[in-house]
């Protein structure tokens, strides 16, 4: 019985991330539009976009290989699996022991690996520019993320996300300098990894500034739908991650009552709304950076992660 309910919670979370992801994207777009005094598309527009893309025919370039056609599914699968390992509204996911935070980062790296390859498959200049810049950003963001994970793992003495959330939810941790540094680092990484302003502009189609959009330029129809959905899931993943690590108190405990799960669910929706709003405000308030200014920005996260880790090496209580 316990197993079944745990499985149920796991499956619900997997479905939840899938269904909530476009909603978050739509919400961020809407808030940004309102902040710019535009009316903006409806919040449900991303769902309509995906449905429309699914119904359309796929136009594949003449010299596309199987990598181009397989990549959307692999990107989606790796991102979804990674997202399913992050607690959204309840802790103690059934399969959380099968992969820790380092593995979640590596799963996202797999998705990026295939996205970058897909960008190079057709052999256009834009695909190459996107892939090469994406890998440059990743070469800074990924180690930054790992160092942030080190910081949290040293506090929790485990790289398992559920253990980290458990420990941070307990009152024994308190405010720590290292965790503060880690939070700022994680937010910068989240912005960089999701291609948000100031790293990349998700709304741009101005050729020379594109990163993510340049890689997916040749995609259409159901392939593009998978990639758009994967991108939305990735944004939700990072928001859930920040929420479950730094605001872990609302997570329902395994075996808890239905009411506690419901409360956790409502709190999760509230977290998404707050983070989405803050993201939109941040994106509106800041201008996009030149590509070669990015290393300073993302490198800052790397330094913060390293500093947090060093502090914990100096003393476990910092």
């Amino acid at each position: 019985m316990e197993l079944i309910s745990a499985l149920l919670v796991q499956l619900m979370q997997m479905m939840l991330v899938l269904w909530a992801a476009p909603l978050l994207t739509g919400f961020v777009r809407k808030v940004k539009a309102r902040l710019q005094r535009r009316r903006g598309p409806p919040i449900l527009q991303p769902y309509r976009d995906i449905l429309r893309l699914l119904k359309k025919e796929v136009v594949v370039a003449d010299n596309a290989s199987w990598v181009f056609r397989a990549a959307p599914y692999l990107i989606f699968a790796a991102t979804w699996v990674a997202a399913a390992l992050v607690p959204t509204f309840a802790k103690g996911l059934l399969f959380s022991w099968s992969a820790d935070l380092i593995a979640i980062i590596a799963l996202l790296a797999s998705a990026r690996f295939f996205l970058a390859l897909a960008g190079m498959d057709i052999g256009t200049a834009f695909g190459g520019i996107g892939s090469s810049r994406e890998m440059m950003i990743a070469s800074l963001a990924e180690p930054a993320m790992l160092l942030v994970v080190f910081t949290m793992a040293l506090v929790a003495r485990s790289t398992q996300l559920s253990a980290v959330a458990d420990l941070l939810a307990s009152s024994g941790v308190g405010l720590r300098v290292s965790l503060g540094l880690a939070m700022v680092g994680l937010i910068i990484v989240a912005i960089a990894e999701n291609g948000r302003v100031p790293v990349d502009n998700p709304a741009t189609h101005l050729e020379l500034t594109m990163v993510h959009e340049a890689m997916v330029l040749e995609y259409s129809g159901r392939h593009l739908a998978m990639i758009e959905l994967a991108a939305a899931v990735k944004l939700l993943l990072y928001v859930s991650l920040i929420g479950c690590i730094f605001v872990p108190w609302t997570l329902a405990t395994p075996g808890g009552s239905t009411a506690s799960h419901l409360a956790g669910f409502l709190a999760y929706i509230a977290k998404l709304a707050v983070f989405g709003f803050l993201l939109a405000v941040f994106e509106t308030a800041i201008a996009k950076m030149r590509v070669f200014r990015l290393p300073d920005f993302v490198g800052g996260a790397l330094m913060l992660g390293l500093l947090g880790t060093l502090l914990l090496f100096a003393s476990r209580s910092l």
Partner: protein, 670 residues
């Protein structure tokens, strides 16, 4: 007969095959006979060494009445030797299988065939040797055999230069090892390793052994800054030999390091771990950055070997530091990570070199800026090469990720280390490791993307064809091993437990008993990873997505010219090239190094010449270390040259003076 006797028979048989090859190399069937024979011998030796590792028990020894008088030649197989023999012979078997197909394209087989089995025999003998003399003899034999293979294509001036540099570096390495073994054997000449283990030595002697072995074995493994020969020599050899040199011979050097430092040198102070961490971290990052800058696939792979050796040495350095501070469980974890990476790297690096060899066979081209689009003409090779790229980029569920994950877990065990220097070094090394892992991903996106994807950049690339089945089966075998080692790493971790128990004093908890083949680095940490489940999850979700899409979405598909924002350019030169792919990372990480220069030669206004862009990338160690060193040697030899033209009187007084000074030194010393 004991295991070691059987393994010695295999090595002797390999030497016999080498002699046979020298006799029949010019006949037509020679390629098949020789590689067939080495394949059979390597498979036998693999089975024997895996059996020795699995059965465990006391080390089996053998003394042969050859070698130095009254001492004889000692050979032994313990858990460490068995593990490395398995690495050597799996790589040897795969290279032989590949050679059966690839060797047919060899233009001068008589320059490759005799040395290939000899090289394999040399590597086996280094691992088997159990006394200082046979050890050094085998080491030098291995170096010379590989040198002969490096200059197999000696008509190319670049290969001759590579051979020359390799020969100098190998001699220097052997000299360092000779001195290290001299210190270990002591004035009484205990050549036998068993006797060396029992002998006592001062901390200073142990530290000197460490530094000398670091130079000797480290130069063979390719540690920065002694790596300069490696990216020249490894690519110069035929591809299956490159695979052996990069995938296997560097591991023999790791074996030499573990044997001489962990086993024979005795207890070492904590700073030895810090030294290894610094060198390992530096090798990892500089190796992968240089790899990213290369446009020659084989040279890129050689630089990436330096990176992976760096990762292994970070693991070994952590193990030394933990051991010195009495944290045996953490030392066992770090050493397991290093050993696992030894095995994993030998799998995927051989696979990638085979892939580069396949491309070379199909197109005659090593420069990726003249390739492209090969995925359409070499579908199987490209799929297998992609598997190797994923494994080396540490992507789950393949094997590279497992050993990097374990290394990270070992890093996370280290805040309890008491020394402040280590407390600062270890997180820095962890950061360098993370940076190297991310850059490796970029390097292999570049390798695969430029070589296999896109549009062909030359006629050779457009006319490429798939390679023969034997080469493909060797690659498929290694790709399969990468997957297996990635999804069930627990069995390998259990297999290396006797080694860590012997050299780190502890072993990881038994992994095979854990549910669902999960791996855990230590019970109290609560961290775990399950490659099998991650593999199944990804497979399941991808299939679910494919099914859902094909069930509910539109099936319509149309082929059309590329979109490219409306202005597709038919010229393949408009694609990103290798160096343009690496440009952003070059700007970020290497902009301020003098070795990397970008020059834009803009003609004056009114001049009709085309503007030119020139990019020069050099390995900075040449300028910083090798050239000054060579200049110093030259000056010194010019000065000493004067001593050749003295009168007999002066010679006599010189001899007398040196005698007196030596006696003085001796008098003060004792």
């Amino acid at each position: 007969m004991s295991v070691v006797a059987f393994l010695m028979l295999c090595a002797a048989a390999l030497l016999g095959v080498a002699l046979l090859a020298a006799a029949i190399a010019r006949t037509r069937a020679a390629t098949t006979i020789i590689y067939g024979a080495t394949l059979v011998l390597c498979i036998t030796a693999t089975a024997l060494s895996i059996a020795a590792l699995a059965l465990g028990g006391a080390p089996s020894r053998l003394v042969l009445p050859v070698g130095l008088p009254w001492i004889g030649a000692h050979f032994a197989v313990d858990a460490l030797a068995a593990f490395f023999l398995a690495v050597v012979n799996i790589g040897g078997a795969a290279a032989s299988l590949y050679g059966l197909g690839y060797g047919a394209h060899e233009e001068e087989p008589h320059r490759v065939l005799p040395f290939f089995p000899a090289f394999l025999a040399g590597m086996n003998l280094v691992v088997l040797a159990d006394d200082a003399f046979s050890y050094l003899l085998s080491w030098e034999f291995m170096s010379l055999a590989s040198w002969a293979l490096v200059i197999a294509h000696h008509r190319d001036a670049e290969n001759r230069r590579a051979g020359f540099v390799y020969l100098i570096m190998a001699s220097m390495g052997t000299l360092a090892l000779l001195l290290a073994l001299g210190l270990l054997t002591g004035p009484d000449g205990h050549y036998d390793f068993e006797a060396i283990r029992l002998g006592a030595r001062t901390p200073l002697a142990s530290a000197m052994v460490l530094v000398l072995v670091l130079i000797g074995a480290g130069s063979k493994a390719g540690l920065v800054p002694l790596h300069a020969w490696l990216p020249l020599a490894h690519p110069a050899a035929p591809s299956h030999v490159s695979a052996l040199m990069s995938g296997v011979m560097t591991k023999v050097a790791i074996y030499a390091f573990i044997r001489l430092v962990f086993d024979l040198a005795g207890p070492l102070p904590w700073w030895s771990g810090a030294l290894l961490l610094a060198i390992g971290g530096l090798s990892a990052v500089l190796g992968v950055l240089q790899a990213l800058m290369q446009d020659d696939t084989k040279r890129l792979l050689a630089y990436s070997t330096i990176e992976n050796i760096g990762i292994i040495f970070i693991g070994l350095g952590l193990a030394l530091a933990f051991r010195a501070d009495g944290m045996d469980a953490a030392a066992a974890l770090a050493m397991t990570a290093a050993l696992l990476h030894v095995l994993n790297h030998s799998f995927f690096k051989s696979l990638l070199f085979f892939g580069a060899g396949a491309v070379l066979t199909a197109t005659g081209e090593r420069n990726m800026d003249r390739l492209g689009g090969l995925i359409h003409r070499m579908p199987v090779s490209s799929f297998l090469f992609l598997a190797g790229c994923m494994a080396i980029s540490a992507l789950p569920p393949l094997n590279g990720f497992v050993s990097e994950w374990l290394t990270f877990q070992a890093v996370l065990q280290s805040p309890d280390l008491p020394q402040w220097a280590l407390k600062v070094m270890v997180p820095a090394a962890g950061g360098l490791l993370a940076l190297a892992a991310a850059l490796a991903g970029a390097a292999f996106v570049k390798t695969f993307g430029i070589t296999f994807l896109g549009r062909p950049r030359s006629d050779q690339a457009a006319a490429a064809h798939e390679v023969d089945r034997l080469s493909l089966s060797a690659m498929a075998l290694l790709a399969l091993l990468c997957l297996i080692a990635g999804i069930i790493p627990g069995f390998i971790m259990d297999a290396v437990a006797p080694i860590t128990r012997q050299f780190a004093g502890d072993a990881l908890p038994l992994q095979a008993k854990l549910p669902w083949l999960t791996i855990v680095p230590a019970f109290e940490s609560g961290s775990s990873y399950n490659g099998l489940l991650v593999f199944l999850f990804i497979g399941f979700s991808a299939l679910l997505a494919v099914w859902a899409i094909h069930r509910f979405a539109s099936h319509a598909i149309r082929r059309a010219p590329a979109w490219d924002c409306g202005f597709p350019d038919p010229s393949p030169a408009t694609q990103y090239s290798g160096s343009s792919f690496a440009q952003p990372i070059r700007r970020v990480f290497l902009a301020r190094t003098p070795a990397t220069r970008e020059e834009v030669l803009m003609p004056a206004p009114g001049d009709m010449q085309a503007a030119r862009f020139r990019l020069t990338i050099a390995d900075p160690v040449w300028d910083w270390l090798y050239e000054p060193f060579a200049a110093a040697v030259e000056i010194a030899s010019l000065q000493l040259n004067k001593l050749q033209f003295l009168t007999i009187r002066r010679y006599l007084s010189l001899v007398f003076l040196s005698l007196v000074s030596l006696l003085l030194v001796l008098a003060i010393w004792s």
